[in-house]
Symmetry: C2
Subunit: 229 residues, 2 copies
DNA sequence: CGGCCCTTTGACGGACGTCAAATAGCGTGG
DNA sequence: CCACGCTATTTGACGTCCGTCAAAGGGCCG
């Protein structure tokens, strides 16, 4: 999965436009590539530059002292790592590459200044912010009030939606580089239980997973699970 | 619990200042009072006015079609219902009064315009935003990766922190108008299990609860539970 | 070929949910 | 003042969803 022009999605086009048309000297990104399993940043680290994913998948996660881990979101191409970084240089999370990841970084001080100056940029940021918050709240509901089946079905469907909106899903087929431990840490379950649920889904003809891709074989069936109970 | 001057906390002082010093005709709040159990707004409702809590406690919650409910946050005096409302008039949650609640509302369009005009107001908003997001992420970690004991202990401690920062806690004593079903819906547990855990906490000499107030009887003990495991 | 990571499966255990009943508190109205 | 109805809390017995532990097999890469 690769967005050819590199920079992308809601916030980014506005930034690029500002950079090109109005302030050619600022908002120039710098580019980075890191292999799978490497960290883009760690919890608590101070970031003067704000990363935006251009290619590959990453996790945004927190780890407790005893090793329990919660993935807060999967970062896809076009995602800003966190809008919070605009206003607080201390990263709340670790960001870890799932696949090889290419990303670009923008200077926080420059973005912040541009935000107040260009109201279209500001409007784009606020839209990303709203989505980020809605996603966080939905995660809390999933973890607090939904069963394992529902959580996993919803994770699959929401990833497909996000990819489709960016043109990265080919019908019901999508890239799916997640290991089961990623799914477990995102849904608050154990790897063993994720394996059981996914096997059940496969046996029920809901999904097919091979070779780091996933096909939704029964969309209505999957949707039914997310409403169930 | 009542903040005498009515308006309050991070975002509000800046708004009041803007209103008084620079735009006396805008940002004039209108005041409301509602009894316990009444709703300030419902999921999906369109709000042109943004509510800020002045007195009493409320919940911000979502309900699934089958009745399962998740409380996303408890709103305390000084809290804005949601910063998302600044940019999206469709409320994501229902907001329900726990006690009698007094609140004030500000016109969204006016706040939004003032935000871009007065950068101190903008800075205050971004601080509230960062806190809101951190709280949402912490909730996800609690629900995904912590035990019932830990969740409840952390809820108590975090409420005390929030109250203390606003001058509403007297030492280790605090108002505590929550019913056990509120705690259950906030921690993703059942009322029955909350009852058991709280009884256990009381028997262990960690907390005392009577007459809608809570005393932390053993702060180190409670804190130890939140780290445990 | 050997080592590592990932996945799967089974047996078992535990944390938490469900169901049910008893008790207490509290406001309302006779 | 008591009767009542409602809501909240507590407790016990039991059930279940998911975790833990363990072992085996597959795929990938050096």
């Amino acid at each position: 999965m690769h967005y050819v022009s590199g920079l992308w999605v809601q916030l980014v086009p506005a930034m690029v436009q500002v950079a090109q048309e109005r302030s050619p000297t600022i908002l120039q990104p710098s580019e980075h590539t890191i292999p799978a399993r490497r960290y883009i940043c760690r919890e608590g680290e101070l970031l003067e530059d704000i990363p935006i994913i251009c290619r590959g998948w990453a996790t945004s996660e927190m780890t407790l002292s005893d090793g329990r881990r919660q993935i807060l979101t999967f970062l896809l191409p076009g995602d800003i790592v966190s809008t919070v970084l605009m206003f607080d240089p201390a990263s709340q999370y670790s960001v870890e590459a799932i696949t090889e990841v290419r990303y670009r970084t923008f200077k926080r001080t420059e973005i912040k200044a541009a935000l107040l100056k260009y109201s279209d940029l500001f409007n784009n940021l606020s839209r990303v912010w709203v989505e980020e918050k809605m996603q966080a709240d939905q995660l809390a509901i999933d973890l607090g009030r939904r069963t394992a089946d529902e959580r996993i079905a919803r994770l699959i469907l929401s990833l497909r939606d996000r990819l489709a909106r960016r043109g990265f899903a080919r019908g019901l087929l999508m890239d799916f580089p997640l290991r089961q431990h990623h799914i477990a840490d995102a849904t608050g379950l154990t790897v063993v239980h994720v394996s059981r649920v996914l096997s059940e889904f496969r046996r029920a003809g809901l999904v097919e997973i091979n070779d780091r891709s996933l096909t939704i074989a029964d969309l209505t069936g999957l949707r039914r699970i997310t409403n169930m109970r």
